[in-house]
Symmetry: C2
Subunit: 408 residues, 2 copies
């Protein structure tokens, strides 16, 4: 039997956008409408900062039709924030929630956001205020504990794989060394998804470097040299978060300085520096002239028009499940995606928030090769279904060679 | 009546790839099959360098089915080259063509490639060797004279516009200054196409800087400051080729040094340097903290899965027309796309190769605003049809604000 805790629903989005994060907001809004104890459904603008500032919009008065169209639009429709609330910040949020009779709080975000849900939950309990606070997962980094994979990852991975398919074709046409720098501060999943671009035996990326493995410049140069000798070209995927054996980010090591964002994290995205520095090392170390790098940057998390249908469905479902857990089961926690069979189905579970909050999941060992410069078949099998249907495929000419007349 | 010059057809691709350049190769291959005087259809690998080296494949022995699948694949299926032949180089090409009884030569490329066609043509005439050499246009830069627009541009423009749509959504969610650096050494068309991302009145790019206008740092900073004050964010599209009033490329001015490619051109692509340097100027000059840049790089010319259907059709047709001109009319030249009416039809014309060879077309004045930081309605009307059908559209929530309780 459904619980009869009457009051308002509040939904918000935190952290970096994803191509399907709006599916989760819309999932909450539409599912919550089905429960008579819900008096209104509010959306907070700019995540937790909108809660503190009482910047709410009334999603109850939004049309279903427009909600569906926003669901198909990338990036955070309710806008986002990088604020990472402490106890005092959460206390202010909690005060606003009480004033507005918020009884159900759904926060769509990554591990920082799940920590916010944990704190608010504890404060509500301490104040004896009945509140269901549930964390809804999203992150293109795919780094949430307890989840087989996270909503947002499949679409970003699809973008990265399609980008590398094009890079393969481009780097075959005009041969050289190409470095594509991919997002992922601590977890290499997104960079690893570049491997899904491989169709032909000599397709790249030939080398893949992830934050989970030490980056050693001598090995890197030896790898590039070997591939370049063999194929006359080399296509490389590098995570923005690669680090030296001593744990220093390579961007810091190569730059000699570091820039930090508002969280005190070293700035990795929004700059082409790492790719440029690695290119220079290859030019200097191997004497190869045509070395180019691209930093995929923000395109990979908000590009208009590249979404995995599977990812969209799951981003919607985690939100629907979150509402159902809150309404029917009267429990708190974080919704997680499980994969009972490899190829392919999912289950959703509500897991204790402490298992997710503030924690980072990394690529498991069986997804990476021994040499630390590539991925395994296990990873390919894991990742492929997440990219969704109608995945494009490149085609090559197979016309036979013509016998030479002059150069015999 | 068709001319009866019997012999082989040779097709090749030169310069940077485009998302639809294979349509033109396949257009030549399939159209040429219809003419009984054609004894075989060869493709040269890696453009003119494959002609000199006699690296041919026999496209007559390729299946129609696979040709169609390659046509839908981005980048140069016959592979490409940056070689820019001089008289001596062309003489070697011509010798190989004679040896293989090549009587029809179709070269798909930009203004450098058309110059090659011009030289080969002159040598054939001088040697009294019957050869039909026709240039088939392609370039994402859209900078060929005589053409209303070039095959390849529409698809690259679509990528750029979709990228900026995502950037708009992302930069609204987490506000700051965003710079997207777009390809186009001398012509601003591709950068200008970012304006097609605008749907809502406050959508970006708010500022667009093109190579056709002097880039003045003080004006740039004043522009950014004004937009940032108004919207609390600023989204900027910058051409890689922007230059100071004295003609020096901004990348050179800001870097203090320059890197040159194998043509002796300053390296603009394959590095994130320009975006990073402009970001630093904004941080220093305006004290804004969140400033990010992406350099779209090679993704915009070879991305797998973003093609304008209109662009694909036209890339196919220019090649079919090239074959028809050679077979029926027995003439040389360059095929050009004309637009007799604005909204929307095209005609194809064979124009004298001298009108195209080695020349660069720029954005006309009526496509750019007075201030040199944006485009006009004329440009939007010109560009929109080229992006093709099923162009995606972002959607925003329109839910009403909720009255505040605590912050009144």
């Amino acid at each position: 039997m459904s619980n009869r805790l009457e009051g308002k629903v509040l939904v918000a989005q935190g952290g970096g956008p994803t191509p399907v994060i709006n599916q989760s907001v819309v999932g909450v809004a539409l599912e919550a409408r089905k429960f008579s104890q819900v008096t209104s459904i509010y959306g907070a603008l700019h995540g937790v900062s909108g809660i503190v500032g009482e910047n709410f919009v009334d999603l109850t008065r939004e049309t279903t039709h427009n909600l569906e169209r926003v669901a198909g639009t990338p990036s955070s429709g309710l806008l986002s924030t990088r604020d990472k609330p402490d106890e005092e910040y959460c206390a202010r949020m909690f005060k606003v929630m009480q004033a507005h009779d918020i009884r159900y709080f759904f926060y769509v975000g990554g591990n920082d956001s799940s920590d916010t849900v944990r704190i608010v939950n504890e404060q509500a309990k301490a104040a004896n205020y009945e509140l269901r606070a549930i964390h809804i997962p999203k992150t293109i980094d795919n780094d949430l504990e307890e989840n087989d994979h996270c909503p947002g990852f499949g679409s970003a991975a699809r973008f990265v794989a399609q980008a590398f398919m094009g890079v393969n074709l481009d780097n075959r046409a005009l041969q050289g060394v190409y470095i594509g720098v991919v997002m992922g501060r601590h977890a290499g999943f997104l960079t690893a998804s570049s491997a899904l671009a491989q169709k032909y035996f000599d397709d790249g990326p030939h080398l893949i470097y992830l934050p989970e493995r030490h980056f050693i410049m001598e090995n890197f140069l030896a790898d590039v040299d070997r591939v370049y000798q063999k194929h006359g070209l080399c296509t490389i995927a590098v995570s923005e978060g690669i680090a030296a054996p001593d744990g220093t980010a390579m961007i810091t090591k190569l730059l000699g300085t570091e820039e930090r964002d508002s969280h005190g994290n070293i700035q990795l995205s929004g700059t082409g520096a790492l790719g440029d520095l690695l290119s220079n090392e290859i030019r200097k170390g191997l004497g190869i002239k045509r070395v180019r790098s691209d930093t995929f940057g923000y395109l990979q998390r908000s590009f208009m028009g590249i979404q995995s249908d599977r990812d969209s469905h799951e981003a919607r479902e985690v939100a629907e499940k979150a509402v159902q857990y809150a309404m029917w089961d009267n429990v708190d926690g974080s919704v997680a995606i499980k994969r009972p069979v490899l190829d392919y189905s999912v289950d959703y579970q509500l897991v204790p928030i402490d298992n997710v909050a503030g924690k980072t999941r990394h690529m498991p060992d069986n997804f990476m090769n021994e040499a630390g410069n590539g991925v395994t078949q296990d990873f390919l099998s894991y990742c492929r279904p997440l990219l969704g249907s109608n995945f494009p495929e490149p085609h090559r000419l197979r016309a036979p060679k013509v016998a030479k007349i002059l150069h015999q």
